[in-house]
Symmetry: C2
Subunit: 426 residues, 2 copies
């Protein structure tokens, strides 16, 4: 399976005490106590052999790595230097996630910051077209300009809720993200379609868009085992953006600068960072991160190319406030909701654990089908213990389910039960 | 007239050489030269007796004041410590203006940053309602939540183009902004209407929403002469937001935190910073900044309450790239366009100074009627000298004019001719 540098270090430690730390359950089993408590208790880390295993972080270590010192230090749960989760209550209510609060997740360590010293000089090879060429970002900027808002979300966002729901003896490895491996940002760049058209159009027989990241591969490992190369269906050619800008500023290295292949609606791993090759291909890549990772396989089964790849994101929502015990009276329940590939059509909120639901107005700008919307419902919370939940319906009529059937990689969790908030009103 | 602290210092200097510096014409008379030139040449400052006179800035001084050290130092033209313009090419192409690049314009020096030490404790008095009350931000947060994207623009944005078009002997005082006193940001807060409803609704006979800023008034001056208090029509009650957040983060003091009265579609001065009172009133305030300033009066005339107040922003657009000489071939002409009170419906681009026009696609997310849109047109620029311009049409069918008739305050400029870009393609 994929074996990036970080796995190397983890396996070294597998025999140590770090390999067996359990995960304390947070939202599901939280007993409200007197005073303030939050639904996001810090959790010791789980380690295992899954594809998203991370370096042995010190439990309780909160500091951002030096490369992320520009981010808001108070906004994160630092699982590892490459796995940094936005705190649930700090995603902001401006629909667009501030870039200094956006989560970080890397399969392979990023390249050095030398690659963003001269951003316009970065080169990307375009293949699988009538006239293949390598183009610089400066040249891409002369072809066209487009902008799209998308939900950028790690495939494993919500894995913790899946892990918590397992039967005894079952195991799902990987970072126990709850909701914070997600954000909504605005990308600007050139449509891939305009680039392909400028190079004579797709070659005959191609069926996928395959992007390769510009990471330096660790020495001593087979390239196919570690490279970040993902294939997505050719239908995405209508929406894929080669982006050099996010939220109106040059794309930071940490988020894939100088150039990232954005696939609107598709899970994070498919949005190739520091993309160096974009090829239209007849088949999916046989790189391990595609063939034997990020697939929909059963718990305890191996991942393989016969299983669906983790591509389109499903309808999902979660509450971002309130997260803490509080006083009785009027309060505003708010959160985010998205349809993945479709616009979100409706959000409902429950304060009784899903027995009854009320429609929650969507507020703020609508940034398009691939973005998320804010919802906000002002209501009177009476004294007592409540379980708050939100449930989204997308424009195709798909309703966010109560739970998501666990899968081997802990991917694509989208239940409303997992992120439900238990709190006590005095 | 209004006499904030900064005017005090300016009058002291009126008799010095600083009082007679002319303004070098930039975009209108630019002769393209060999190599790179920009349409935004640095300009010595104009001083006069107008309402937007600023402290005597040193010509060529580029540094941001200490209070703005958190902003992007390369993104601004610093007219003065209270008058800081975003560079034309650095507004970003993400439709939402990054807050570290958003312009600054104050009529009165801001309060101390003590007021943002405990943001939820800031109190605003709500008057002209059935049950007047003073509410904290914490209390406002329990009433409701809404979010809106707006173009925040100084009333004098574009004044330079108006100054350049004057007849000999005519004079318009005030900061010679070109396009950079504008941005598009997303505010989050509570709808004023929800607050008014929670307090029993408007009192009988009220016709205006009057907001008062929390600035400390300079000693020795009549309060009415310096306070920042503006009235807008009661119809705005449907859209006014009391905002504590911008672009998903707590509203910085520099932009009016902890609480700002946002009037979507209305020019900057009406968006009261650090708002301490919001009153529904029967008449416009008699504060000088309302009664004798920010009015539509003729060149050389005095401002007075009989003239229209500078309220609703008109349809407008300008190009943000290219701004420099370049090589022949394909290029992307891009910029921003907005309808003020209405959505923008159409943008056209000319490369021959307005003789011929082509429709430019609108790109990126549509953040609603009060926001701006990006436009981008890929075209082949042949060798030669070109005059690039953009012309917007709003959803009500109003077309951006070629020029705006000069007015005494240099307000509401919206011509397409002024910001036209002259450049040479080799």
């Amino acid at each position: 399976m994929s074996e990036p540098t970080i796995l190397h270090r983890r396996r070294f430690l597998a025999g140590t005490a770090m390999g067996a730390i359990g995960v304390a359950s947070a939202a599901r089993a939280q007993a409200p106590g007197a005073g303030t408590s939050t639904a996001e208790a810090p959790r010791p880390e789980a380690h295992g052999a899954g594809p998203e295993a991370k370096p042995a972080a010190k439990p309780g270590a909160k500091g951002l790595p030096a490369s992320l010192a520009w981010k808001d230090p108070d906004a994160f749960i630092v699982h590892s230097s490459q796995t940094v989760e936005t705190k649930r209550g700090l995603i902001g209510s401006g629909v667009v996630t501030p870039i200094d609060r956006l989560f970080i997740r890397n399969n392979v360590n990023p390249p050095s910051d030398a690659i963003v010293a001269d951003r316009d000089a970065w080169r990307v090879e375009i293949a699988g077209v009538a006239s293949p060429r390598t183009l610089s970002v400066a040249e891409l900027k002369r072809i066209g300009l487009a902008s799209v808002a998308t939900v950028l979300q790690c495939s494993g966002n919500g894995r913790k809720y899946m892990q918590d729901a397992l039967q005894p003896g079952q195991k799902i490895s990987g970072t126990p993200w709850t909701v914070g491996a997600a954000g909504c940002v605005i990308w600007t760049g050139v449509p891939l379609k305009a680039v392909v058209d400028a190079l004579g159009g797709p070659a005959p027989g191609v069926r996928f868009v395959t992007g390769t990241g510009g990471e330096e591969l660790p020495a001593g490992l087979k390239p196919k085992d570690v490279m970040v190369e993902r294939s997505v269906p050719l239908s995405t050619l209508d929406t894929v953006l080669l982006a050099w800008e996010v939220n109106g500023e040059p794309l930071p290295l940490a988020h894939g600068g100088p150039l990232r292949m954005i696939v609107p609606g598709y899970s994070g791993v498919n949005n190739i960072k520091y993309v160096k090759t974009v090829a239209l291909t007849e088949a999916e890549t046989d790189a391990k991160i595609q063939a034997a990772s990020y697939r929909m396989h059963g718990v305890g089964e191996k991942a393989g190319p016969a299983q669906p790849s983790i591509w389109e994101q499903p309808v999902r929502s979660w509450i971002t406030a309130p997260l803490e015990n509080g006083a009785a009276g009027r309060t505003v329940v708010t959160g985010v909701a998205f349809g993945g590939m479709n616009a979100v059509a409706r959000v409902e909120v429950s304060i009784d654990g899903g027995r009854t639901w009320a429609d929650a107005p969507l507020i703020g700008p609508d940034l398009g089908r691939y973005a998320w919307r804010l919802f906000a419902l002002a209501l009177d919370l009476p004294a007592g213990t409540h379980v708050l939940a939100s449930r989204a319906t997308d424009a195709a009529g798909t309703v966010q389910p109560e739970e998501t059937k666990p899968n081997g990689g802990g991917y694509s969790y989208n239940g409303w039960r997992g992120p439900a908030v238990t709190l006590t009103i005095a």
